[in-house]
Amino acid sequence: MALVSEPMACLLFAAVLLALSGLPGLFLQRPVAAQWIAALVAVFASVLGAYAVIQLLGGTAGAVYQLDWPLPFGPAEFSVDHLSTLFLIPLFLVTGCVAIYSLSYWPAKEKNTAAKLTFFVGLFAAAMVVVLLARNGVLFLMAWEVMAVSAYFLLTTEQQDAQVQRSGTVYLVATHTGTMALFVLFSLLRSTSGSFLFPLPHALSAAFPAATIMMVAALIGFGGKAGLMPLHFWLPGAHANAPSHVSAMMSGLMLKMGVYGILRTISFFTEIPVWLGWLLLVLGAWSAVNGIALAASQRDLKRLLACSSIENIGIIFIGIGLALVGMQTASPILVTCGLFGAFIHIINHGLFKSLLFLGSGVLIHGTGSREIDRMGGLAKRMPATSLFFLIGSLAICGLPPLNGFVGELFLYVGAINDGIHAPLPLAALVAPVLALVGGLAVITFVKLYGIVFLGSPRTADAAHSHEAGGLMIGPMLVLAAGCLATGMAPLLLVKLAAPAVSWYAGIEGDLVSRTGQQVPFMPLTVMNSLLVVLALALAAGYLLRLSKLPRSTGPTWGCAYLAPTPRMQYTGSSFSEMVVNLFGALVAPLRRRPSLATFFPAVGTTFCYAATELVLDRVLTPIFSWIGLGFSYIRRLQHGQLHIYVLYIFATLFVLMIWAH
């Protein structure tokens, strides 16, 4: 009981439980039982953690645990503040859902990789909890790397596949390079603050050059993990090739750890330089637009979702950028709106992106494919999934009455306020950018939902697909309900984010009501319910009318084709072709046309159309091959001639002699 009353203890205990949850599976001979045990333990841990989070949001202060560490990095300190709490909210929710979902998505009785997968899922979640609680740079690094590496093992679950291998390697290299940047960050923290322990908020002055290096390092290390452009290149492949529930965790939770890292690093400093805010703002805007443009051009279900994660991260960073700019220009409304927008969107994205990825898992399970253009007409075959997917799509487009709108509303209000009051309202341009992003998001997700679920099946697999079991539907139901509830009652989200905002912006007093005067989250409830009521009323009236009138059914008008086939339907690629052309510069789609000499193409000629990954395919890969070429010249030094090797020795001797004098 004493333990339960202490949120910090609960959190640590939950972390330990999560880490150990998969352990039985590695040794137990009965995999199915082991998987169930793991799932139940994970759910229990999540509940425990959620309970602790509720306590913390209720105002209970978490204790500070200090272990004296034999390693020469100072004590290992664990503690929790409102910033960590904010990120813990989606963490436990999604982890619990995923634990249940995996039972039927990756059943141990069919998949022999289940034990390994379950183990690493637990470790992954636990590592993220520790990342949020660690207050010692090196401890943080350890948890961070455990998180990153276990994510690697998770996404290479199907390591026989070459695609999976490649994306896994790209991910591992990217994340490890980022970790090196974090090495720099925390070493400099040690050399400036004299200890690896995180300093108190705003304890360090950002005036020193070291501080600038630290911020840049954080931007590289954490921004890369968050998938901020242009360090996003690892993200689509990784998310697409991981098992869907893992993608849900990676996209919904792991990317946020990068955001957390940047927020945490910034919180160390006082008088943050103005360039940082603008930089984050610009990078965020770029990521948002470019990310969603990429998403629109994708043909792979999960790549599309992954790219839209880049977009959402971009939106979050727009919020952070607004807030930092606001701190510089001393406009509190910008600060609060920016922070609220970012923080609420962090929670929201955790909800609806996980929901969508879990949904995509059901689709892959049902149709055995990730190609959008091979699906279709699934709404009839998996009604529940299609409903949840629709909710998720509406939410991610930021449309009322769902939760996605709330976060963006704050950003809009902040931007427009800046437009009204600032002498040079550059930040106001966020509003049209967000509008553009919203429009593109609508295109993307209309395409996704429409092509996948509506129309008639394009392949036999799609035609024979089936609804998933309750263990997969249940978690999605929870998340969808979350999206709807928080969308209808934005106050809920505001209250969740408020402590973090006031902690981060250093605002005392009743933040919620004060923000309420600026940002219409209270009237929003009224409007949303009005909208819903109206829609239901209309529906009722319409159905009533239908029942009285004659009705007939027939096939869709086939555009005067004699024998229309499902293959003639509009595909996802054709749907997004127009917008992809408009944004060709950002997306650079790859088109390979057959050369047409005669009126008809020769038999067997094909037209290839694929979205490319600019940074990875056009920049990094060539650079790497050049470097490799250069290295191969240097390698000639090891030519196998013994007497020259002896010459090396004497040359070294000679050089050292010269060095001396």
Partner: protein, 213 residues
């Protein structure tokens, strides 16, 4: 006495040059043997007699003058080879280099702060010159055997320097050094036999399978 020692040291250096110039392996081996024997005599000339000294002398002459040359020539006999093939740098250039190095050794030795009683001796230049000669042989000759010889000359050079310290230093270091030398050469001999079985020639330029491309 010291003047005699100096003359011997000059002889040692001449032997270096001879070895640099000669292509016949057995000849080089004998030369090394002679060099070793001379090294054995030297300590007796510069230091007052003692048991320790006698032991060293005998040991050196036995090992450097007899045992090791025997081992190597045995290996040569097993491998049926007479002469060194054309080295990477011709004999004449090698000789020339050797001469230059010897000269440099003298220049260099002048700069070194020696203990007063060693000032007028040729030990330091001789040791450096021999060292460099060994290095030359090691880097120019192709045959494994010649490289062993080069290694021996190198060791001799080091040894000449060591002689300055024979009385000052505890006996066991030289003993250990000699022992190591012996074992090392022994193992090398074995390896050379293996090579000659594997490759039918001990041309180390053939041993070039292991490399990066």
């Amino acid at each position: 006495m010291n003047s005699f020692a100096d003359q011997l040291l000059v002889l040692v250096m001449l032997i270096n040059l001879v070895m640099l110039g000669s292509s016949r392996l057995l000849f080089s081996i004998r030369a090394v043997a002679v060099q070793g024997a001379i090294l054995g005599i030297l300590p007796g000339l510069i230091h007052p007699f003692s048991g320790h000294l006698a032991a060293i002398t005998v040991g050196i002459i036995l090992i450097k003058g007899v045992l090791i040359p025997y081992l190597i020539s045995d290996a040569v006999r097993k491998a049926h080879i007479r002469r060194e093939v054309e080295p990477f740098i011709g004999y004449v250039p090698t000789l020339f280099l050797g001469a230059i190095f010897t000269a440099l050794a003298f220049v260099f030795a002048e700069k070194l702060p020696l203990a007063p009683e060693h000032k007028e001796l040729l030990f330091v230049p001789a040791s450096i010159a021999t060292l460099l000669a060994g290095f030359l042989i090691l880097t120019t000759r192709k045959k494994a055997i010649s490289q062993v010889i080069g290694y021996l000359v190198l060791e001799n050079g080091i040894f000449i320097f060591g002689l300055l310290l024979t009385e000052a230093m505890p006996f066991m270091v030289e003993a250990g050094a000699l022992l190591d030398l012996l074992v090392g050469i022994f193992v090398m001999g074995i390896v050379i036999n293996q090579i000659s079985q594997e490759f039918s020639s001990i041309d180390t330029s053939r041993l070039r399978a292991l490399k990066e491309e």
